[in-house]
């Protein structure tokens, strides 16, 4: 049973694009071995240098979710083709592959070669493309829910996925200038290469093209929903500039800021594709909540990885948040054990030695573990919401996606 399950999980994973980007999926251990590995580490309460790959506690929930589908499939042999499932992976994979080419095409409507180059710089397929994947999968899942026995993706939904990626990239470009980062996705950032001014203009350009595409979908609700994202992104940045004095307020502030900066885009794009798929308010809310929870988990893991991972794997420098003066979840949790972190947070780690001391304390405390638990809670919420949809391969992929979010290494 374990072998069959492992085989099926493996074949499904191979279909998903995330496999390519996620080092974890390449491991070949069976779920039971992975589970025991995890349990040992978890129970010994060591801090987590490298997160265990593959099966975690999510295994149980995932298996439970899987069992809602027809039982016949559970005895599938590894690699066997069925009518549905490998198809999902392939089609979403194809969607994404084609997406970057299409985005570059949209951005190339200008005659200006320099602008084209700068704007297309990040759309070379090296990014994780998490947001378009989530958007496309949600779209397909919603479509399967509203139109049972049919599997499709509307062109407008696909365009929303493209818009999502473009908005995300534009905000990255601006953020790199704001944070004065020199590297992104393993290569020199736009501002390093071409200067700050051009970086800002290029970011604005990408945003305006995304806006134009949004208008061309000719759906006022979708336009409203996605433009709210822009406002949230900027507000999130502003929130990051300021800091709260009161410790109790700090965590709430951090969560609100995380929503605005990361989860908002994913949540609203899921909602947008739900609207386009003809979903009613209830289902739109399901999509929104799924996106929101996955987004929160994604950012929490990102903040955690900033502490535990090495810079090579991430494509950007590690402990970057501390150096920028940002107090993220691990730090906020660690304050419990090390109250001396509080004044450091207030002065944004500007004094010499602050960053190193804070780093050591955080790694020493419960911070990383608690962050991970919070991320897992969000993932559980996400699964609970998306479970309300009618079963479909995409729905299962979405559930499995939470696993991948939790086990990212970059």
């Amino acid at each position: 049973m374990a072998n069959a399950a492992a085989g099926r999980v493996r074949s499904l994973f191979e279909g998903l694009l995330l496999v390519r980007k996620c080092a974890i999926a390449r491991t070949n251990t069976t779920p039971s071995v992975r589970w025991s590995q995890y349990r040992t580490i978890h129970e010994s309460k060591e801090h987590l240098p490298k997160l265990p790959p593959g099966g975690t506690r999510r295994c149980d929930t995932a298996r439970r979710a899987l069992s809602t589908s027809s039982p016949a499939r559970s005895v599938q042999q590894p690699g066997a083709e069925t009518r549905d499932e490998p198809d999902t992976g392939k089609t979403t994979d194809d969607d994404i592959k084609q997406m970057f080419t299409d985005i570059v095409q949209e951005l190339s409507t200008t005659d200006n070669q320099l602008l084209k180059d700068i704007a297309s710089y990040y759309f070379d397929g090296q990014g994780k493309a998490v947001r378009p994947v989530i958007t496309c999968l949600t779209a397909r899942a919603i479509n399967s829910h509203t139109h049972p026995h049919r599997r499709f993706l509307l062109p407008s939904q696909r365009r929303v996925a493209m818009i999502t990626e473009m908005i995300h990239t534009a905000s990255l470009v601006h953020d790199d200038v704001i944070d004065a980062s020199d590297t992104r996705r393993g290569k020199a950032s736009v501002n390093k290469h071409w200067g700050q001014k051009r970086a800002i203009m290029a970011g604005d350009y990408i945003l305006s093209v995304a806006s134009t595409m949004l208008a061309r979908i000719r759906n006022d609700d979708v336009t409203l929903v996605l433009s709210q994202v822009l406002a949230d992104l900027v507000q999130g940045e502003f929130m990051q500039l300021g800091s709260k004095e009161n410790e109790n307020e700090r965590f709430a502030h951090y969560l609100r800021k995380t929503f605005k900066k990361t989860a908002s885009l994913i949540a609203y794009s899921c909602k947008a594709v739900a609207i386009l798929g003809g979903a009613d308010d209830e289902i739109q809310e399901v999509a929104f909540q799924y996106g929101r929870n996955v987004g929160m988990a994604f950012q929490l893991m990102d903040d955690l990885l900033d502490f535990v991972s090495s810079s090579n794997l991430m494509g950007k420098p590690a402990a970057a948040d501390l150096r920028l003066g940002l107090a993220t979840a691990p730090v906020l949790f660690a304050c419990e054990k090390f109250p001396d972190l509080n004044p450091m947070i207030m002065r944004r780690f500007t004094e010499p030695g602050d960053v190193e001391k804070a780093y050591r304390w955080v790694m020493d405390s419960e911070g990383p573990r608690q962050t991970r638990m919070l991320a897992e809670t969000h993932c559980a919420e996400a699964i609970r919401h998306i479970g309300q949809l009618k079963p479909s391969p995409e729905q299962r992929s979405l559930i499995r996606l939470t696993d991948t979010v939790l086990n990212r290494m970059k």
Binding site: V177, I200, D204, S208, E237
Partner: protein, 442 residues
């Protein structure tokens, strides 16, 4: 709202003997008046030279009464006759009465939310540095007299002049919105236009942080911080503009305005530039290129918002095209006027201030005297290497200024021609007055 304005103004009070008056008269965005990229030392000296203007003249402008001739004589260029400035002020204040309220601060209204008063605090930290954002902020709040670019006002006037195809839409609106025959969404659009322009100005003030330009560590830090605030405020305005656009529930309008934002950005990448992205003219740069570049940089937003406001009113394609043409021509004449300022307004731009090297007078001069082009191109990496006094002198002696004036008149006349197709009304007259004021104010 005036209370908020004074709050904001107080927060931004600058040192060096400058006072920002709490109320302002006519609308402005002064940035493109001179597209000057001042070197740090010059910015500081400019700031100290600019005089403070008394609050009463602003209050007068705000409430529509005539500005006294005496005050104008003191401040206007000695080369110009006194009657020209009052025409402009009168035209604008009459126009504001027609559309129902003073259009000053249209772009800044959204900045007055609590969250964003944070920006004011941060901008205050920039005082004493030479980051361009400070200058932009100062100009936005502090009334620049020579600024003629009242985008929001023009959009509103055009809306009124064209009328509404569905008058029952106007009836539905709130009592307060009814005056002036302009619908709520059209007002919103005017505000959005101003916001986008302001956002663009602010983003243009981002500075390239090449270490060679800023060897001093402290200055570099100031500039980095200034950049941060500039980017965030610009982004905030842009995102507000986008949500405002979405709220109009008209995708054609959203599409039009978004494409005009793309155009803005394209304009920044055209042609050869130095390390601080100042434009440098190339050989054989013709006036067609001037027109093309300025269409993208200035014309597109104006033309498309004029078109968009007619879309909102339900007008035909034909009328929309007229609106587009009108906006385009008026933008060209504004741009030509702005290009001429360094050569006409010697009070505000004393010889030696940097000006845009791809502006109309320079290009026109270089067409007939190519040796100046050679000199300009010899500047290498940065336009700071050029002697602007010498350039100024040469161009004043040449045909550039005269031809530039003709260009401005030409486009203004074209705008008037388009306007003649609209029905006679007080709004149309107000527009004509404004255009005449531009033509005479040279």
């Amino acid at each position: 709202m005036s209370r908020n304005i004074s709050f904001l103004a107080k927060k931004l009070r600058l040192h060096k003997g400058l006072n920002i008056s709490p109320v302002s008269g006519v609308v402005h965005d002064v940035g493109s008046k001179t597209r000057s990229r001042d070197v740090p030392s010059r910015t500081m000296s400019n700031m100290s030279k600019t005089p403070s203007i008394s609050p009463t003249s602003y209050a007068d402008g705000l409430f529509g009464s005539l500005v006294s001739d005496q005050q104008l004589t003191q401040q206007s260029n000695p080369n110009q006759t006194v009657t020209k400035k009052p025409d402009w002020n009168r035209a604008v204040s009459d126009a504001e009465k027609i559309v129902g309220y003073p259009t000053s601060y249209l772009s800044l209204r959204c900045l007055l939310s609590d969250e964003i008063s944070n920006i004011a605090v941060h901008v205050r930290k920039l005082v004493g540095t030479s980051h361009p954002l400070l200058k932009t902020a100062k100009r936005l709040i502090y009334n620049g007299r020579n600024n003629m670019q009242t985008r929001g006002l023009i959009v509103l006037l055009l809306s009124k002049a064209a009328g509404h195809m569905n008058p029952e839409e106007l009836e539905v609106a709130d009592e307060q919105d009814k005056p002036a025959g302009v619908s709520h969404s059209q007002r919103s659009l005017a505000e959005i236009t101003e916001m986008i322009h302001t956002a663009h100005l602010i983003h243009k003030g981002v500075v390239n942080l090449t270490p060679s330009d800023f060897p001093d560590g402290n200055t570099l830090q100031d500039m980095t911080f200034g950049n941060k605030i500039a980017i965030l405020s610009g982004d905030y305005l842009l995102s507000n503009a986008c949500t405002g656009l979405a709220a109009l529930k008209n995708s054609k309008v959203v599409e039009l305005i978004s494409t005009s934002i793309s155009d803005f950005m394209e304009a920044e990448f055209i042609g050869v530039q130095d390390t601080q992205s100042n434009a440098i003219p190339t050989k054989n740069m013709t006036m067609e290129e001037w027109a093309a570049r300025n269409y993208l940089a200035a014309g597109s937003l104006m033309a498309k918002s004029c078109q968009a406001t007619l879309v909102l009113a339900g007008h035909s394609e034909d009328m929309q095209q007229k609106g587009f043409e009108f906006g385009k021509q008026i933008a060209y004449s504004w741009q030509a006027h702005a290009d001429l300022q360094p050569f006409l307004d010697l009070y505000r731009c004393p010889p030696g201030t940097q000006f845009d090297l791809c502006s109309a007078p320079v290009l026109l001069h270089c067409q007939q005297h190519p040796e100046l082009l050679d000199y300009i191109q010899s500047c290498g990496d940065s336009i700071d290497n050029l002697d602007f006094k010498y350039l100024h002198q040469t161009i004043m002696q040449g045909p550039g200024v005269k031809q530039g004036l003709e260009l401005c008149m030409q486009h203004a006349r074209k705008a008037l021609d388009v306007l003649a197709d609209f029905e006679r009304s007080d709004a149309r007259e107000a527009l004509e007055n404004i255009i005449h004021a531009i033509m005479e104010c040279d």
